[in-house]
Amino acid sequence: MAENNSKSNNNSGSKKVLGPVHVWALGVGIVLVGDFMGWNLGIKQGGSLASLIGLWVMGCMYAGQVMMVSEMSAVMPESGGQYTMAKYFLGPLAAFNVGLMQVFEYTMLAAGDVIVVGQLLNSVLPGVRVLPFTILTLLLLAFINYRGAEATLTLNFFITAVAFICIMILLFATSFWDPQTTLIRLKELTNGLPYGKLGLMAAIGYSCWFCLGIEGTAMAADECRSQHRAIPFGAIAGLATLLISGTVTWFVCSGLIPADELGDSVYPLYEAALATGKLYVFVALFIGTILSCLASANGCINDSSHAWAALSRDKMLPDLFAKEHPKYKSNYRAIIFLLPIALAFAMTGLLDQVVTFSIFSALMIYLLTCLMLYRFRKMYPVGKVKRVFTAPLFPLLPILVAIIVVCGLFGLHLNYGINLISGAVFYLLASIWFLKRRAKFIDKDKFLDAGLREWGKPEEM
């Protein structure tokens, strides 16, 4: 089985250089930026306590997601993460939508990251213009990705580690362990649950910002030396890191900044550093914010180009994007094609709109992932296909995950209903285009051939 997997994976031509540490860095590197900006919108929507509850509720949802994705990704005959799973378990139209949602989830996240880099530089040096630094950051990261995954992820590992250390520096600078000298004033500065249950629902939608993108680790399967070990181990370690850093971030920010100010902050951790009044903390958090944005955008460009190339390889998009660079083995055409799209969104400077579209796309993928696991178990029950990892509590697990995701979508719609409708209309129009223009190019026998060869005929279609 493992041999079969590695044989089919070799077809793509990507180098197999990644271990669990790289997978951890790819997952955490994309997501750690959520601690540095964006998460505090949950406090604005539902209050301090709602944000903390939301973090752990969403943490449970992501643990479920990682387990479901790990079960399916380890048996997949090719790379592509949830896109490949949708292809084999839900069919071409769902696969096209999941692929497109992945592309926009990561492209929007990359656009959001570079907006923050430009605006943070502008806040430190007010004369510095946002636009050239936004463009430069995207171009630089696109160039790094263009030169292949190895360089990209080694860099990610380094900057992710530095960004995580910066959060810890802030935590210890508050002397939280000593009641006499501590700077943390949780009792005075937090506001509990001012908007009740509805506020809690709204906060849950934004709390997924703490971990959004961790499931992208499954897309690196093609480049892993041992995907059966690297993907589950790297993803679970990444999620644990994010829950710890998310809780520390909430604790420090809520203890240093009043809740009403924190909800409106553009750079919550950076402002918490300013509140300590210590220069070294201020410098560390400035560096941490910049590096986490760079790491996130770096991983996002990698993931979005992988997803775009996978769509192209299966003829769901024109096949010109599937070509790999002869020297660097990167999806160079996909990287260049997606660059102006990310730039266009980044240049608007509308961080909340970009973030909302990214979250909406991600939540839709999570919902479809629950359906994929259900289909996988129906088509290939546990004894029929050998699994390296089996997700526990089936069918309760996908049901619980789906309930949390629906709560998140409901919470998002409370303040960004128009954005959600716009997103849904976009994917609907894309689906119509796919059915009219691209569905005819898909050879249905060839499309599922690798899966049928590997697992045999499904028990139920």
């Binding site: 040096l125 004369g127 510095v128 213009r129 050239p132 630094f133 463009i135 430069l136 171009l139 630089l140 696109a142 160039f143 263009y146 070509k323 660079h325 002869p326 160079y332 055409r333 260049i336 660059l339």
Partner: protein, 54 residues
């Protein structure tokens, strides 16, 4: 000072853009030449096999 920083950022944007596009054009040329060579080889093979049949 700030003007110099802004100008440097714009210049770096142009340099990065040129590096990306330059390599992409080079790669496209490489693939075009490779395709042309493959076409020539397959045509030559076709001609040889047709001659053999005659």
């Amino acid at each position: 000072m700030v003007t110099i920083i802004n100008a440097a950022a714009w210049i770096l944007c142009i340099v990065m853009g040129a590096l990306l596009l330059g390599d992409m054009i080079k790669t496209e040329k490489y693939f075009a030449e490779k395709d042309a060579k493959n076409d020539e080889t397959s045509e030559a093979k076709k001609e040889v096999s047709e001659d053999g049949r005659k």
